[in-house]
Symmetry: C2
Subunit: 309 residues, 2 copies
């Protein structure tokens, strides 16, 4: 195997009740990454299309994660990377995670898979750190493991997949404003009352129970955020209105995707998700805002191989 | 049916990672309660044995919960109650919950079961409020529903049972000092950093996942408390020593039972639990402290009927 082309998907982190803890992997939206073996050692980023991003291997997240992998691995070749960005940086649906996880996934394939997907998380996290200023593992884990993921402890990589009730689907609205993860994170660093801690963690625990019991009603009651959303939602135009539209049209939940500005509605079934997509689109057009919109089921597999040479 | 005798068990609330959220029902330790129909309307508490407690129906938790039930229910008789306390008040293993849940369970049986066990929680909570100054539903729910219970929202009674891996067992050490729940609650009312919120709720979510996956290792990694235990454990003589003994002898976890002063070790299997019991006993004897010790598997059924007349 000399060359591999992969699809590295977008993901939603936090999912309202699980700040820095929960992630879910999406379908259809994502980056395409080609990695080729080279005789010359080291990593080169040949080109990035779709978005303007640096080719500097020490600054581009895909380069940083790849370098972290190479540092620990004995290989007698190098790699050149081409990135076709399908996800906009700063959108809040795991743009940096898709690239940083994608490059290490691809290299791992090219060198005979010495690492499991779970073991690749630590390399991908090095890229994520560069992008957001913090090593939050929810997005990269979702991309590498697929499905719903739970990060118990990102420092010790205590991360696992959760049960995935088959019928869940997401609508993602990306307002065309940029919110930098690092700035958005700074905003929420304040103490929380014990009552809020109880409410927030009760919702997280109940959400997890809902996933295992496949109890959509319980999932819906618990996918709520009393800590971060009240602060961050202020940055998102018409957040409350979008939420109201979604929840009154059968959404099980509505919240901020990662650090925003993207928002998500979670529904039972793709039909509901698409209907909500149409309504949110209509509302944002009416208000004259620019936006992207996506709908997706849960991607149970994570990164997928498109072509091997 | 004119008379019923029931066994109303002890329970462990909080379970380290689920303050005011988690509860588990125990076997063998508990109160016995006899309730008899009387022609005269109203509630009378005839006697309490085993502990010195008031017979005043407006002050005894079993009376308060029974009155709450009667207030909502149309019955043309009254009830007299005898309570044989097997649980010491102030021990931290749900003494007030056993009595307040027990009386309403018994009355519900005598009047033809108009309420489900879940519906009885709200009446039992009225008794619990009197005892602890707050309506925390973890103990009464564990007693009424059995097994592991999850309180998502005690105001709206959003409470459910969790999966119960068959092999879990508990050791409970009750140091003979009294810690009032109301005082112990006051101690912990301080703001929490976002980092601690994340760690604590990640542990709760992971513990729930562990119960559903029946993953004892994950359960063990997550049954931890970074918020309440560091404050409350100071009140418990040799807490750290007891914890060390338990964890170095195969305990999956160790923590404060409810608001203390009882502590619990959770183990895989009753044999391990009993061994830890012996070691804790030895340590407390060596130090010259007075104590009670219990071992128990999980009581999946909750309150049990002993005799009906």
């Amino acid at each position: 195997m000399k060359e591999i082309k992969i699809f590295s998907p977008a993901s939603i982190a936090n999912l309202s009740c699980g700040f820095d803890i929960l992630g879910v992997c999406l379908n259809d939206i994502g980056d395409e990454i080609v990695v080729r073996k080279t005789k010359e050692k080291g990593i080169k980023i040949l080109k990035v299309t779709g978005q303007k991003l640096t080719l500097d291997v020490n600054k581009n997240v895909a380069g940083v994660s790849a370098l972290a992998l190479l540092k620990e691995t004995n290989v007698d070749c190098g790699f050149e990377i081409e990135i076709h960005k399908g996800i906009k940086p700063g959108s809040g649906i795991g743009s940096s995670a898709a690239s940083s996880a994608g490059s290490v996934f691809a290299i791992n394939q090219l060198i005979g898979k010495p690492y499991s997907s779970k073991e690749l998380i630590k390399f991908a996290l090095e890229g994520e750190k560069i992008a957001s200023g913090a090593a939050h593992a929810d997005n990269v884990s979702a991309v590498l493991l697929g499905g719903f993921v739970f990060v118990r402890d990102s420092l010790n990589f205590d991360i696992f997949k959760l049960n995935n009730p088959i019928d869940l689907a997401f609508t993602i609205l990306h307002p065309q404003i940029e919110v930098k993860t690092s700035e958005s994170r700074a905003l929420v660093q304040r103490p929380v009352t014990l009552d809020k801690l109880i409410t927030q963690s009760a919702n997280l625990g109940a959400f997890i129970s809902g996933l295992y019991k496949e109890d959509y009603n319980l999932i819906s009651r618990s996918i709520k955020d009393v800590v971060i959303e009240p602060i961050r939602s202020i940055l998102i135009p018409e957040f409350e209105k979008l939420k109201e539209i979604s929840l009154s049209n059968n959404a099980l939940g509505f919240g901020i995707s990662g650090s925003g500005p993207s928002v998500f509605a979670m529904s039972k079934g793709l039909v509901n998700a698409k209907k909500i997509g149409d309504l949110l689109k209509e509302k944002y057009r009416e208000l004259g805002f620019s936006f992207d919109i996506h709908t997706s089921t849960v991607n149970e597999k994570g990164i997928q191989i498109i072509k091997i040479k």
